[in-house]
Symmetry: C2
Amino acid sequence: MEAAQRVTGRIGFAGLGTMGAYMAENLIRAGHELSVWNRSPGRATHLVDLGAAEASTPAQLGATCDIVITCVTDAPDVEEVLFAPDGLAEGMREGSLFIDCSTISPTKAREFASRLSQRGIAMLDAPVSGGSEGARLATLTIMVGGEIDDVERAREVLGALGSTITHLGPLGAGQWTKAVNQVILAGTYLAVAEGVTLALKAGLDAERVVGALAGGAAGSWVLQNRSGRMIDDDYPIGFKLRLHRKDLGIALALARDVGAVLPVTSLAASFEDGLIGEGHGDEDNSALARSIRTLSGL
Amino acid sequence: MEAAQRVTGRIGFAGLGTMGAYMAENLIRAGHELSVWNRSPGRATHLVDLGAAEASTPAQLGATCDIVITCVTDAPDVEEVLFAPDGLAEGMREGSLFIDCSTISPTKAREFASRLSQRGIAMLDAPVSGGSEGARLATLTIMVGGEIDDVERAREVLGALGSTITHLGPLGAGQWTKAVNQVILAGTYLAVAEGVTLALKAGLDAERVVGALAGGAAGSWVLQNRSGRMIDDDYPIGFKLRLHRKDLGIALALARDVGAVLPVTSLAASFEDGLIGEGHGDEDNSALARSIRTLSGL
């Protein structure tokens, strides 16, 4: 009877990194009862102060929650949280819902969903975009793949985390869409980096140039929000460049699978490899401008 | 005494192409007395019906106006309107102002300004962005270079043509900024083209993908306004691809002058050369997506 009512009960959150910690906090602020778990200890203190319960293992987290959300780095991390001994899959009840907000390959997402479905656990892939600001302000773009009933069941919870929640299709479609997002971002970063570099080399007031162009056809979120970092050549986080490089790896593997040719994205991935090698991987993604600046002697 | 008051008298407009015809119409609608001239006859009829006077030569146009605006294709066209026999320079009075809204090289702009100044005629470079929609709706982005007094004198007139009028620096700074604009546009078109192509090849609902991403970090004017054309593979004008290629030629020449390396812009220019060769030069600039689609077998 209780299950048939589908009133969302306690929410679980596993993975309290930069993104996850803000997301978990927004769930508490939206009035949800929350349990949390993180691999390395000490990350939950602030959330426990706000009223969250801390679980000692993912299995324990799963056992007490109707919906469990993860936000970790890559597919091996998701796999460990789900299927390692004392993992979520051991604890989560039949009929419960697992939502993965990590960015991983759609193939891996479908594999995990298949394994969970054998235990009667539903899954959505729901990767996010918007970086740490979006996570903090609950303005994330959330790209959801899965069954429509599960999406409806998750909608209120996801609504506490982001401002645009779109159901893109069956399981994996969220990850595909995230790959498209990262591809567009890669090219837009390079576009703005080339424009800023030309303006600086020409001796123009680059900030004034951005002000003149931001409202026109050259306008973008990147031009509005990241050109200043490129002009200053200083890249506070944001979203780590090496995580974007990881996501481009997923996107380029998908492109190979379907035969899509992405020359600008490939160039961005190569530049990012060089920047990570030079120690810039923990800077904001906009540090991709370093490559264009360096080539141009800036 | 009259000149000292600096009340703007009759405005002249030379070059009634797609952009110029809309711009001239907006000047009339804003209440300005307007005279017009166009190289090929018959383009002024609609404007004469709205109250414009038609001049038989640029010299005659110049003789009756305090401010003359041109919007033509390239530097040789500007040079002809100004300095050919019966050109504007012969007719324009000392103390009058010439505003060039064409996109030409800053070097040429400074050369023309120098020749005009010998006759006591001031000049502004004021290239525009926003395409035919921007010209029609008077929402152009106008990038102005020149002396501050001349900019102030022109501000009301330019305000009838665009919604963002920015003074970027001395003569030529408008053209430099326009080059930056076209560089950013080139990369943003390719970024969106790669994203759309990946989405289509993956079998996603590409319009829904755009809807999910447009409000986030991947968002841009191009994604919002031109991805639909790329999805449909149909590119109604807009802004002609071959004019963008001309502008990239200017931008890449400037980049060589100052030592800026623009790999994505260079790639876009190469793709556009191929598309022009295949007969796509009169399509909208967003037809740049054809290159990515074709490479990907779409």
